[in-house]
C-alpha cells in the first residue's frame, strides 16, 4: 500500500509540476508575442531581421529548441571564430535583446529542467571555445546568447518572404 501511495504522490507531483510550468509560461509568451508583433510592424527593420525574429519566436515556443541549440552551439561558435566578422560580435539592438529575454523566460518557465541541462551544455561549450578564440585573436567581444542564436538563425534558409 505504501508503494502505491509513494507512486501516486510522485505521479501527482510530476503532473502538477508540468501543469504549473505550462501555466506560468503563458504570460511570458503573451509578452513575447506582443514584442514580436510590434517588431514585425515596425518599418525600420529589414525583411531578413523580421524573418529571424519570427523564426526565433516559432522555434523558442517549442520544446525541442534548446536541445537543438545545445547541439548547434559548438558549430556556431566555430563558425564565429573562423570568420571573425564584426557583425557577429557587435552588441545587438535593444529590441532583439528584449524579445530574446521574453522568449527565454517563456522557455525556461515552460521547461525548467531541459533549459538548465541545455544551458549548462551551452555554457561549457562557450567556456571551452572562447579561450581558443581569444588565443587565436579571433574573438572581438565576449559572445552572448543573442549573438550565438543570431548567428545560427541568420544562417537559416533565407526565404523570400515572411511566413505566417
Amino acid at each position: 500500500m505504501s508503494h502505491i501511495l509513494m507512486g501516486a504522490v510522485a505521479a501527482f507531483a510530476v503532473v502538477i509540476y508540468w501543469a504549473l510550468c505550462r501555466r506560468a509560461s503563458l504570460k511570458h509568451r503573451a509578452k513575447a508575442a506582443d514584442l514580436v508583433a510590434a517588431y514585425v510592424e515596425d518599418d525600420s527593420h529589414t525583411e531578413h531581421e523580421k524573418e529571424v525574429v519570427v523564426l526565433l519566436y516559432k522555434a523558442m515556443t517549442r520544446w525541442i529548441f534548446m536541445p537543438v541549440m545545445a547541439v548547434l552551439t559548438p558549430f556556431a561558435m566555430v563558425v564565429m571564430i573562423i570568420r571573425s566578422r564584426d557583425e557577429d560580435w557587435k552588441p545587438k539592438p535593444k529590441e532583439h535583446t528584449d524579445i530574446l529575454d521574453a522568449l527565454m523566460k517563456t522557455y525556461i518557465t515552460r521547461s525548467p529542467i531541459t533549459s538548465v541541462v541545455c544551458l549548462m551544455a551551452i555554457g561549457v561549450t562557450m567556456a571551452l571555445l572562447v579561450p581558443i578564440g581569444i588565443a587565436l585573436n579571433r574573438i572581438k567581444q565576449t559572445p552572448t546568447l543573442v549573438g550565438v542564436y543570431g548567428t545560427i538563425l541568420s544562417n537559416a534558409p533565407n526565404s523570400k518572404h515572411l511566413h505566417a
Binding site: 507512486g7 505521479a11 503532473v15 501555466r23 508575442a33 508583433a37
Partner: protein
C-alpha cells in the same frame, strides 16, 4: 468497410487495420508491468498512475493553456500577414510608378 476472415481484421479504404496482435501487446505490457513491480513497486505504481493522470493533464492543457497560446501565436501571425500585405501593396505601388 469489410470484416476479415478471422473477424479480427477490418479494412478501411484498403488499409488493413488488424486487431490480431492486440492481445499479444497487452500481454507484453502486463509482463513488463510485472517485471517492473518485482524490481521496484513504487516505480511501477508511479508509471501506472502517471498513465492514468496523463489524459487529465492533456485535457487541462488543451482547455486551459492551448487557447491562450494560440491567441499569442495568432497575434504574431496577424502582424506577419499585415506586413506581407503592406509589402505587397508597396511592391505593386512601385511597379505603377
Amino acid at each position: 468497410m469489410a470484416e476479415g476472415i478471422t473477424g479480427q481484421e477490418t479494412t478501411i479504404n484498403v488499409i488493413n487495420v488488424s486487431t490480431e496482435r492486440l492481445p499479444e501487446l497487452l500481454d507484453a505490457a502486463g509482463r513488463l508491468f510485472e517485471l517492473l513491480w518485482s524490481k521496484s513497486p513504487p516505480l511501477a505504481a508511479f508509471v501506472i498512475i502517471l498513465l492514468v493522470l496523463l489524459p487529465f493533464y492533456v485535457a487541462y492543457i488543451y482547455f486551459a493553456c492551448r487557447q491562450s497560446e494560440r491567441e499569442s501565436d495568432k497575434k504574431v501571425e496577424r502582424a506577419v500577414r499585415k506586413e506581407l500585405k503592406r509589402q505587397g501593396s508597396r511592391a505593386s505601388g512601385g511597379k505603377k510608378a
